[in-house]
Amino acid sequence: MEPVIQVKHLKKYFPIKGLFFTKGHVKAVDDISFEIYKGETFGLVGESGCGKTTTGRTILRLIEPTAGEIIFEGKNVMKFSKEEMKEFRRKAQIMFQDPYSSLNPRQTVFDIIMEPVKFHGIEVDDPEEFVVKLLESVGLNEMHLYRYPHEFSGGQRQRIALARLMALKPQFIVLDEPTSALDVSVQANILNTLKDLQSEYGFTYLFISHDLGVVKYMSHRIGVMYLGKLVEIGPSDRIFENPLHPYTQMLLSAIPVPDPELAQELKAKRKMVKGEPPSPINPPTGCRFHPRCPFAKEICKKEEPPLVKVEENHYVACWLYAKS
């Protein structure tokens, strides 16, 4: 199958500015590679501050990457001309976490949705009818056409943001924790809308979240990030049934379960991992997880583990599975 987007050795370092010169770098994303195929949802999980959001934004060139290649439909995004970039902006879109600040408070819903359409010169016979159709497809209606964002709830705003994306008929959408600011019932609603739209229009999603349950529900494949590195990539069900990397195991054991006996067992597992994630300014040498890993060996401190194939489509970066 043809990948829609390919990320190769992507790096993003944020400089820390001192008085006169740069003091160091925050290595938000450090050499990650993956690809996303047409019509699938690729979930990106990890703790806060591990570089998930930066990855999503760098792929869309909302933040310029430090190094690496982004291949969109076979072409390098970094080398796009002005026209190609405009086309890319239409085809690749992003949905944000916070619905309260992602809509311009001074524009009506109609203007919010029509602005990208007008900018990209998409021909529409009757703008009003066009916008109403879009609103209906995300579960809003005609009544909301000329209202301002402050008149809507969080869930409704997120739907307006979704309608804005869909107006451009993008092929690839980065969903940057689209539901984490919403309550559970609204979350389910939005997630189902996203799924329906995907099966209807064949959208490709990069789904960024720290909520494992949501990621499991949404994604076909999952990538687990730790301190700017991808530590494990695999099909959604395999990751949940057979997590290979100790960090993935730790993450999964942190999901609350309603069964008290099972909960006890998981608690014991959770205790194996100690401490907080270290600072991305000065990440540990070798495997970045080694100071917290219960299985850490001598080699883990010295050399970075390569990403190795363990089973079909399932890769992990850990010395437990790789040969040195």
């Binding site: 009506t108 900018f119 000329y146 943001a161």
Partner: protein, 381 residues
């Protein structure tokens, strides 16, 4: 206890006004009224907020009065500002006190001074009315040229950041480093001759200036001074706006809807003027309103120091300056122009303070809540 909200006459007037405005715009843009219900509702609430604030209303009345005088003053004035009765009848001791009547033997007219006269026998009332136009036009030109300059530079500096930001803001700092009045004095002392030559070599500009200030053709030679004050004040005025705009832009550009606009691919110009500017304009509008008073004060101050408008052009600050040597006998030469300057500056300041509350969405929400409650109560009865 929640305060009950009762609709007063002013509120009903506000309802009618907003409705009429909506209908008026609908004449040109079909269906505008139906599409912009939310906007009109906001306007209505803003007017309600205005009605709740007596100082702002007083300010509004003063400001409307000033604008009215500024536009129609020279036409309302019974005498021309450059008509000198002392040339016809030198037996009277000028400045003549309020209420004096003087017979003018050559033109066979009697001139009555309701507010007194100056040392040339000019009617003070007429001079004040002409002076209103001078202040009004100067304040408008300074604000309308100086403020956009500051806003545009501030937006560019704040949005682009980095080297551009450094460059623009350091230049701004250079201007801010001088005390405003000193800089204005220096500029209006240096500029007049050059501006005079410039104006006289451009006929259209010359005619336009004369028309704006409602001046006679023979005042052409005095335009340089008038324009130099305007120019000096524009130079003094923009840096403050560049700074506040940059500050608000810095916070606003971090909001997600700006990033969404960038993800759509919009140019930075569109983002700056269509997305950032409308969202930061509120505090700037308050500042502008306050500054109308500020410009008038400073202009009066400069002409009091002998810069700017030269006699016989009528100007409030200048009248005080020329009247000083007759104080305290001719108190009216100081009192009336001083009172006018004070009232106008006070009016703009009260209005500006009122705007601060009116433009605050929180005030509007609380009024909206009370209005809805009282409307429900009404419909239940």
């Amino acid at each position: 206890m929640q305060e009950e909200y009762k609709k007063g006459i002013l509120d009903r007037l506000a309802d009618k006004f907003v409705y009429a405005l909506g209908s008026f715009i609908s004449l040109f843009k079909k269906g505008w009224k139906e599409k912009n219900k939310s906007k009109m509702e906001e306007w209505r609430l803003m007017l309600y907020a205005l009605n709740r604030s007596p100082p702002a209303l007083i300010g509004l009345v003063l400001v409307i009065g000033f604008i009215f005088l500024g536009i129609f003053g020279p036409h309302l004035a019974p005498w021309k500002y450059n008509y000198f009765p002392s040339l016809e009848n030198w037996t009277v001791q000028y400045p003549a006190p309020p209420g004096t009547s003087v017979y003018l033997p050559y033109s066979h007219k009697t001139i009555t001074y309701p507010l007194g006269s100056d040392n040339y026998g000019r009617d003070l009332l007429s001079m004040l009315l002409h002076g209103a136009r001078t202040s009004f036009v100067i304040s408008i030109i300074v604000i309308f040229l100086g403020v956009p300059l500051g806003i545009i530079l501030g937006l560019i500096a704040g949005y682009h950041g980095g080297k551009i930001d450094e460059l623009i803001m350091r230049i701004t700092d250079m201007f801010l480093a001088f005390p405003a009045l000193i800089l204005a004095i220096a500029l209006s002392a240096v500029l007049p001759q050059r501006l005079q030559m410039f104006v006289q070599s451009h006929v259209v500009l010359e005619k336009l200036t004369l028309l704006l200030f409602a001046l006679d053709r023979r005042e052409v030679g005095n335009l340089g001074n008038l324009l130099s004050v305007i120019f000096a004040m524009i130079i003094v005025w923009w840096p403050a706006y560049a700074r506040i705009t940059r500050g608000s832009t810095l916070t606003e550009k971090e909001k997600l809807y700006i990033e969404a606009a960038r993800a759509i691919g919009l140019s930075s110009r569109t983002i700056m003027f269509k997305h950032i500017l409308p969202n930061i304009i509120g505090p700037i509008l308050v500042y502008i309103t306050l500054d109308f008073g500020g410009v008038i004060l400073m202009e009066a101050g400069l002409s009091f120091l002998g810069l700017g408008a030269t006699p016989p052009i009528a100007d409030w600050g200048r009248i005080v300056y020329d009247g000083i040597q007759y104080f305290p006998r001719a108190w009216w030469l100081i009192f009336y122009p001083g009172l006018l300057v004070m009232l106008v500056a006070l009016g703009w300041n009260l209005l500006g303070d009122g705007f601060r509350d009116i433009l605050d969405p929180k005030t509007r929400r609380s009024i909206e809540f009370k209005v809805k409650k009282s409307e429900e109560a009404e419909s239940n009865v």
